[in-house]
Structures are given as C-alpha cells and as structure tokens.
C-alpha cells in the first residue's frame, strides 16, 4: 500500500511493519508500555505532513493544517 506522498512509501512500510508487530504481540495482549516504533513514526510523519501541505489536502483538527483553508473548488 502506498503513501499519499510517493516519497514517503518506504518510510511508511518500515513503520507499518514495526507497528503491526507491536500491535499484535504487545498491545492486544495488554502490554502497551513502550513504543519501539517512535523514531520510525517521527520520520514517516514529517514526510507525510509535507506531502499533505503540498497536495493541499484539507484535513481538519490537526495542528499541521496549512494555510489553504480558504481555497474553494473552482470547477463546476
């Protein structure tokens, strides 16, 4: 599965692998302390935030929302 930002797909895959392992082996069994995927997530996040700004995707309620809020769809 790809990322919304093409450049982020590899970072996403690494993070996903880490998360899926932690999720099934630790979290669901009640051991939710520790986050072995923190670093991978941060790197992946930075990439995604940049891609979202560049593509002007209007996501609400998230702190990195760009200044494009006022833009309207101009095709009929």
């Amino acid at each position: 599965m790809n990322s919304v930002g093409e450049a982020c797909t590899e970072l996403k895959r690494e993070y996903d692998q880490c998360f899926n392992r932690w999720f099934a082996e630790k979290f669901l069994k009640g051991e939710s302390d520790g986050d072995p995927c923190g670093q991978l997530f941060k790197r992946y996040q930075l990439c995604v935030q940049k891609a979202i700004k560049e593509k002007d995707i209007p996501i609400e309620g998230l702190e990195f929302m760009g200044p494009s809020k006022g833009k309207a769809e101009n095709s009929s």
Binding site: M1, V4, C8, K12, D35
Partner: protein, 183 residues
C-alpha cells in the same frame, strides 16, 4: 473470527481486492491515551477511475477523494470503534460512517460488527434519489467490508504458515550443513 484477529486485520485492511479504489493509507497521528486505548488517525486516498477527458479538464491532482478515519481500540474491554468521514473537495456529499467491533457476547470465537452511516447532501434537489443510492451502496459495502477482512485474515494466516515453513527449512539446511562439516 475472534476479536483480536478481526482487529489486527482491520489495521491492515488495505490493499484488498474488494476495495480496489483505495490507493493510499497514511497514519496522521497515533497515541495511547491515559486509559490504555489506542487512537489512530488515518488518511485514506481513493481513486475512482475518472475518465481521462475529465481528468484533463480538472487537472489530475483533483481526482482523488480522501477519507479521514479515527479509530479507538480498547484492548481490555475489547472494543474497536472506527469513525470515518470523507473529505471532499466539493463538499456536496458527505458520508460519515461508524463501525464498532466487539466480541460476540455468547460465542467468544466470533466478533460482532455494528455499522451505521450518516449521509448528508447539501442544496441539491436530487438529494433523496442520491441518498437512496448511497444507502444501498453502503449496505452492500458493509458486506464487502466483511469479505475484505476475511481476505486479509486468510493472507495473514498464509504468511504465518510460509514463515514457519521456511524457518523449518532453514533449520533442516543448517543441521545438514553441520552434519556435513563434522564428517
């Protein structure tokens, strides 16, 4: 399937053959709250196969629709709740969906899914027709969603099988190699 299996599959739902229009999934935010529940905010990108002449008129960057999904998983109470709404550039139609997965109250190896959708159509006189159309689509999608998870669960089980088989093969090979060296 037991709740843990369904929840694990739901987190890895895409890609799957029942949802070919989902082309991208990203995690926007994820954290465990004070009560031990995992919150995830995900962005799904979908591509509906708009004809190329339309694409050239409106510009290719606009052919994707985005869905924002917020999920909360409580591993102790064993509930998974998914709320999703589409982020549409036109804002004419919005679809909000809410799904809750819980273990079956009487059969612990099964999971119960409750699904509801709220469709809003703004300022369009075709609204009741459109709403009817979307309601039908959403209820057939509910079945598709179950099929999609079945598919993911089969795939995950096959991966585990494959991994176990190759681990056995590797051990046999290294034992054979060790025996050879000892001679």
């Amino acid at each position: 399937h037991p709740w843990e299996t369904v929840t694990t599959a739901a987190m890895q739902k895409y890609p799957n053959p029942m949802n070919p229009s989902v082309v991208g999934v990203d995690v926007l935010d994820r954290h465990v709250d004070g009560g031990g529940k995992l919150h995830s905010h995900r962005l799904l990108s979908t591509e509906w196969g708009i004809p190329s002449i339309v694409k050239s008129l409106i510009g290719t960057s606009r052919t994707k629709t985005y869905v924002q999904e917020h999920s909360v998983i409580d591993p102790v109470r064993k509930t998974m709740e998914l709320k999703s709404s589409n982020i549409s550039f036109t804002n004419l139609v919005s679809v909000d969906e809410r799904l809750v997965y819980k273990p079956h109250p009487h059969e612990p190896d099964k999971t119960v899914l409750t699904q509801e959708a709220i469709i809003s159509v703004k300022g369009v006189s075709l609204s009741s027709y459109l709403e009817g159309l979307m309601a039908n689509t959403i209820s057939s999608n509910a079945n598709k969603g179950r099929e999609a998870l079945e598919w993911v669960i089969k795939r995950l089980n096959a991966e585990i099988e494959e991994f176990a088989a190759s681990a056995r093969g590797t051990m046999r090979n290294s034992m054979a190699a060790a025996a050879f060296v000892e001679k």
